[in-house]
Symmetry: C2
Subunit: 423 residues, 2 copies
């Protein structure tokens, strides 16, 4: 009566999914709208930074040659013949024993080769002609920022696939990217399945629960960088469900369903995948929660049958769907970022399958990352997800794990990502 499914390892399951990774489409958006988007091209410096030699301080631009031999006993006087603020350019020639008052960031006059700061000169004026007195020698190059000192033209600064953050915004502005080339956001469709589901605005009924998975997955899709489209609920009725999925599949890059992938009497997804002609990559993974996660492939598109169980659904998305979205977004590190952490609680039961428990990691005084389960760790426990910022990986073993052991975690909020955390 019950279909027998053969579980495969998480690593093998991820490998099967990643066969279908591909980079997405490109578009240009205004710099005002690019924050948080993913670059689809490398940013290359199109000019030196600074693009000219400039003063690093407020002071006076001088010719160091004029100050040879200057000392407390032999101070040297320079005539101040011009003054320039940042953005202004000195139009005069600077001759022997002449100087220019200059502000931070202003371009060094071409006849000068150093700057002395306000604080180290004596200022005066004679017949409205200002002068300065300097009592020390000054090396050429003093207090300057040199052309190209920060960045040389032609240097690759940020690689494609990187999420745009405030620092990258500064680079984009510096190099004149009024339009920014970013990855188009893939469209990820969602159906929730299950006759037991009420919508969020429906009153609670006996035997029913509100649909929480669709809203959760929408937020996960956004966090991954894609655009979610919620197509509503499917009743556990084959023909309607099949027709709805077939129709909507056209309009999305990835299609997610929640629920209906187990082996219960009303779990229709396996039959729907068959009728669609989709190739099922796997329907059982040696992991908890999420062992019934099913992924299928049809005409270049992936169909994710995530569990109806909130935690299993959550984990299935992060492990199998997020990296596909990140590859669409040109990332070379599409998987969740992995890290080593100290287990904060005993887990003394044997695991036949790899466990991913929803965890809160934190940094203690000892400088180590510590991981504790966020809420009770049963796969139906929705509250454990609210404070999860990591998944702790407990590989299958017969003895469980003890508090204080070193374990691997996958960080849910870290943008850097991993190339392949499944060693």
């Amino acid at each position: 009566m019950v279909e027998k499914r053969i579980p495969i390892s998480v690593k093998e399951a991820v490998t099967r999914v990643m066969q279908f990774e591909k980079e997405g489409k490109k578009e240009e958006v205004s710099i005002y709208e690019c924050n948080g988007r993913f670059l689809c091209e490398d940013i290359v410096a199109n000019h030196d930074v600074p693009s000219f030699d400039r003063s690093a301080y407020d002071g006076f631009a001088i010719r160091s040659v004029d100050l040879k031999g200057a000392s407390k006993e032999n101070p040297i006087t320079l005539s101040v013949i011009d003054e320039i603020g940042a953005g202004q350019v000195c139009q005069k020639r600077i001759g022997e024993y002449e100087a220019v008052r200059i502000m931070t960031g202003a371009m060094l006059p071409s006849d000068c080769d150093a700057v002395v700061m306000f604080e180290v000169v004596i200022e005066g004026s004679e017949n409205t002609q200002p002068y300065i007195i300097i009592d020390h020698e000054v090396e050429t190059g003093t207090n300057l920022s040199f052309q190209g000192e920060d960045v040389k033209k032609g240097k690759t600064l940020v690689e494609k696939g990187t999420k745009i953050n405030p620092g990258i915004m500064a680079l984009l502005a510096t190099f004149g990217y009024a339009k920014v080339p970013v990855a188009k956001k893939p469209i990820v469709g969602i159906f929730a399945t299950g006759t037991e589901l009420l919508e969020v605005d429906e009153p609670l009924e006996k035997g029913k629960i509100r649909n929480s998975n669709a809203y959760m997955v929408m937020a996960q899709i956004e966090r991954a960088g894609a655009t979610p489209v919620y197509f509503g609920k499917l009743q556990d009725v084959f023909t309607e469900s099949y027709e709805a999925m077939k129709e909507k599949l056209e309009s999305v890059d990835v299609l997610i369903t929640t629920g209906g992938v187990s082996v219960g009497d009303y779990d229709l997804l396996p039959a729907i995948y068959r009728k669609l002609g989709a190739e099922v990559l796997f329907n059982k993974v040696a992991m908890r929660p999420g062992s019934v996660t099913t992924v299928a492939h049809l005409d270049g598109k992936l169909l994710y049958g995530l569990s109806g169980n909130p935690s299993a659904c959550y984990v299935g998305f992060e492990i199998f769907t997020k990296p596909i979205i990140r590859r669409y977004l040109f990332s070379s590190k599409p998987h969740l970022q992995s890290a080593s952490a100290i287990l904060g609680e005993d887990f003394l039961t044997a695991n036949a399958f790899t466990r991913f428990f929803r965890s809160t990691v934190s940094w203690k005084e000892d400088g180590l990352l510590h991981t504790v389960p966020s809420g009770v760790d049963k796969s139906n426990i929705v509250t454990s997800l609210a404070f999860a910022n990591a998944l702790t990986i407990l590989p299958s073993n017969s003895t469980g794990y003890q508090k204080g052991e070193r374990v691997n975690v996958l960080l849910l909020e870290e943008e850097a990502g991993s190339e392949w955390p499944w060693n």
Copy 2:
């Protein structure tokens, strides 16, 4: 000639700013639009979860009393009189030696007290009447999820000020929040000052640089959770700048300017603050970069004079502006999250002021957080910001710091935050 300013400590400067912290306004948004927003009220469970006793597996709901004495030698047969999927409710009374076929998540019929899984029964049928044979006793409560097991009605689940993430979305949906109470985003206005600035779409000119600070700060404001409004550039002309700031101040919750706060000839902000009648909280902080950061207060609004220097501007925002925004958003941990890390490079020069260097933190095999400067650490070096996910704090000392030392870092991307990292 040069104004003498007295630097105050970072801790004292933050303390002065935080005198003016206040919680912002509230609004309701659709659950479809609340991801990433900040809750302005605690989320309290308005019903038990589960809201009824339900089956944790696909199987048969039974009365454990019927199976007393069942064994391999003495298997007991139950008549299967109904079947229910999740969302369905059994309408029949279940009598002696009767059972109901039940799917995961379905409500337990009131006459039953346990579930046996498909896998452990033998199914058969006689004259179309299905039956099951069970060869073991079953304890009451087996394979059930009990009402209130996950959450009891009335429990506070998430505190106000928390950023809505996928797990919180699931909770909101579960408890029927079609509309979600969130903090209104404060409006943060930005002026860039400086005659040297070109807009992002202008070609490079001699002596000028493109305005990168405004775009960077806009992204920082978004990351903090507020709405940026860019008012454009101000030339270094007093009356125009004063009028523009006075006018725009009306329309914002916080006003930021970049540049113009130093003691150069064209640094107009001190005079503008005076003419506005704003109380200057400080104009010199014992920190690098960002020592000229100036914060003023006028009629309940804060005016931030951030440095024109990109790195100084960046650090000034994160230390002084972000916590004010997060308090508007009802957060009780508004400051950057602090952590302990291992310094990845020598910093052997003496610091008179506390240094905040833009850093990339990462987790190595040893489970420790490691911090290295992201790019060259000079305050004008814009590229160092692109890869910064932390600020490393090096308190002033006379000997510098050695590679391998334990230092504190502030994590730029972590949402949890700190109550007060300035001990």
